[in-house]
């Protein structure tokens, strides 16, 4: 194989891995959108909040330590214990469920029947609030997250490809784990939505609130459940991204990475989120590889958006979205 092609293949594979992580975030969006018609801009911040909470619990940090110190003049930082990863994950999940309940009760119950764009803006407000809240609760310094996931170059792939192409591919173990986790998560979500009672109720609510209400489905319960599931997806995404690049503010920007994925794949389709994520992950890496050096690099910032924008002009509902039918 010619050298350029080998490089391109490596870039392609890394793009696929990045795409899986995008898809993971996009999944959270699709779930909430399907079940409640809310386009949850706060998904990325939820991932950040989940990761912050997880680190905070593991390290035994005192919540609101800065605030307490500032008000009472004390000097507290840590409880002095360390919680094992699995327990911390479960505790974080409990907090995410509580958050889901609070968000639903305090905000979105009051905004039922509003226009989608109002709901969208409310989630932007929620994102701002959570961002400030997370920082006040756990501090805004960059934290390391380590729940025992494997990291670093995968030597087996490196050696195998070296024997074949005389060039070892660099593929991170963490990316492989993330791919497996994302695949499992998708399968679990599909099974949940298709075969369980609650999942069916969720789809019913998505189809028609009033009809669902009339056959005895509790809207409140379903909404809290959906936000909890989205919180769970956010937690998984937060663990993956947090392990990869540290828990910091930029983690919340993955929401911005997931938006074009959604536009490409369609807001209402779980397979769309996966395919869109892969297309954008591969597309932006290959574009940066082929065109990036010619125009000054860092094209990853906008390539996904411009691709999605051009795509939407020709197919407004995205790849797998439901056809938009307008009635007067």
């Amino acid at each position: 194989m010619p050298e350029q092609l080998v490089f391109a293949t490596e870039v392609f594979l890394n793009g696929l891995m990045a795409g899986v992580l995008y898809a993971l975030v996009a999944l959270g969006f699709v779930l909430i959108f399907k079940a409640s018609g809310i386009f949850n801009y706060a998904q990325g911040v939820m991932a950040l909040f989940a990761a912050l909470t997880l680190v905070g619990i593991m390290e035994g940090q005192v919540p609101f330590a800065h605030l307490i110190n500032a008000i009472f003049g004390t000097e507290i930082h840590h409880f002095g214990w360390h919680v094992p990863g699995l327990v911390a994950i479960i505790l974080t999940m409990v907090i995410m469920v509580a958050l889901a309940w609070i968000v639903n009760t305090l905000i979105f119950r009051h905004l039922v029947n509003q226009e989608p764009i109002i709901l969208f803006m409310a989630t932007i407000g929620l994102a701002y609030f959570l961002e400030g809240f997370g920082d006040i609760m756990w501090g805004s310094d960059i934290k390391k997250l380590d729940v025992g996931l494997p990291q670093g170059i995968n030597l087996w792939i490196d050696e195998t490809t070296f024997n074949i192409f005389d060039y070892g591919f660099f593929i991170d173990n963490l990316d492989i784990v993330a791919t497996v986790v994302a695949a499992l998560l998708v399968v679990a979500l599909v099974i949940f939505a298709q075969y369980t009672k609650q999942g069916r109720a969720m789809r019913a609510v998505a189809d028609d609130h009033q009809a669902a209400l009339s056959v005895g489905i509790s809207l409140n319960f379903i909404w809290v459940m959906v936000w909890s599931v989205a919180g769970f997806v956010a937690l998984v995404a937060g663990i993956m991204w947090g392990t990869k690049s540290g828990v910091q503010f930029s983690l919340s920007l993955i929401a911005l990475k997931a938006l074009p994925v959604l536009m490409l794949g369609g807001f209402t389709s779980i397979p769309g989120a996966i395919v869109g994520g892969l297309v954008i992950g591969v597309g932006e890496k290959l574009f940066e590889f082929a065109i990036g050096p010619l125009v000054g690099g860092a094209t990853e910032n906008w390539f996904a958006y411009v691709l999605a924008l051009i795509f939407l002009v020709f197919r407004p509902q995205g790849l797998f979205g439901e056809k938009i039918i307008e009635r007067v």
Binding site: H66, L67, I107, A127, E131, D135, S140, A298, Y305, L312
Partner: protein, 358 residues
């Protein structure tokens, strides 16, 4: 008591259709203008201009621009920061390429260039709607910021990648650069705000504004009664971007003086202006001013109270500000979707009857 139309007889059509038909309202407006033009410039100092007045005036222009697009035409845009950057860089290129021409013309031309870019990025609005469009405008945000960061021509190949405003004068008084007096910068912005507000007010209550509102309320129905959606949407994008471009140019030339695009015109700026529009009131020129004032004053106030008076660390105050802004957005969307402007309208209605209850 106040805001009474009784006894205020109109004898001509132009009287009847003036911007402030109620006498009390009109006089209040004249007093505000008088104070803004003739009193404030003499009493302000550097701190007040840089912390409060300049950001307020410049954001007010941006908020008016975005309000035309979001509040009047119903097309949500998250690309405001990018369009402000277009205005800033267009102004910079014009200022450095044609130093002999007045800066006022440069700022207006910068607005015109931004209008062209806005129309270009507004084209998809004909096919996609609602938050699909909101997300699509993010393409403008990211692409434009990247463009100004990466193409050296835009920042005249300067080593730092920044642009900084050369000194320019209006009527012999420096308004940009280090020599600027506080009142000069204030007055030049005030003139632009005044002109923009009058133009926006008259556009929105005329034919163009009614077409925009028809498109906002229901675009299919508007099309059926003969509103051309292509013209209406693109003209809204053009006018909105024009104002945003002017505000971007002023923000760079008069307020900051030197700009690093990713820092100043990032996505947070887009959200900030959108929040001003939401808190101030969608579809209201007054609301744009109220929202801008609110979100400019809030951080100043919080900083003075928390950091200055209570001695908290600044990062804590910044986080608290995030929480408060976020909570306020949600609160306004739930309790008063029409924002501060609606509160003002209700207050006026109450004042009209005061002191009688009915």
């Amino acid at each position: 008591m106040f805001y009474r139309e009784a006894g205020d007889f109109k004898t001509s059509y132009s009287d009847d259709s003036q911007t402030f038909p109620i006498k009390f309202d009109r006089y209040r407006y004249y007093v505000v203008l008088l104070v803004a033009f003739a009193v404030v410039p003499f009493i302000i100092n550097d701190y007040w201009v840089n912390a409060v007045f300049l950001p307020f005036l410049i954001y007010a222009i941006a908020a008016i621009g975005l309000n035309i697009l979001v509040g009047y035409c119903g097309q949500v845009s998250l690309g405001t920061g990018g369009f402000m950057a277009v205005g800033a860089y267009a102004c910079y290129k014009l200022m450095t390429s044609f130093p002999e021409i007045s800066i006022i013309i440069h700022v207006i031309l910068a607005g015109g260039i931004t209008a062209g870019v806005g129309v270009l990025f507004g084209l998809p609005s004909l096919r996609i709607k609602g938050f699909y469009l909101a997300v699509a405008t993010l393409a403008a945000q990211f692409f434009l910021v990247w463009l100004f960061n990466r193409v050296p021509w835009f920042y005249n190949y300067s080593a730092s990648g920044q642009i900084s405003a050369p000194e320019r004068t209006v009527l012999g008084v420096p308004v940009t650069g280090a020599e600027t007096q506080p009142w000069a910068g204030y007055l030049i912005c005030l003139v632009f705000v005044f002109a923009c507000a009058i133009i926006a007010r008259n556009l929105t209550r005329g034919m163009a504004g009614r077409k925009w509102m028809a498109i906002r309320d229901m675009d299919i129905a508007a099309e059926i009664i003969g509103v051309n959606p292509l013209k209406a949407k693109l003209s809204a994008f053009a006018v909105s971007s024009f104002f945003i471009g002017i505000s971007g140019a002023l923000f760079f030339a008069v307020y900051l003086g030197a700009v690093e695009v990713g820092e100043v015109f990032g996505i947070t700026k887009s959200f900030l202006v959108l929040f001003m529009v939401i808190i101030g009131g969608l579809g209201s020129i007054f609301g744009s001013f109220a929202g801008a004032a609110f979100l400019v004053l809030l951080p100043v106030l919080l900083k003075n109270v928390l950091v200055g008076a209570m001695g908290w660390p600044t990062d804590l105050a910044a986080h608290l500000e995030f929480m408060i802004v976020g909570a306020l957005i949600i609160l306004f969307l739930i309790a008063e979707p029409h924002g501060l402007a609606q509160l003002w309208r209700v207050a006026k209605e109450k004042l009209r009857l005061w002191p009688f209850p009915h």
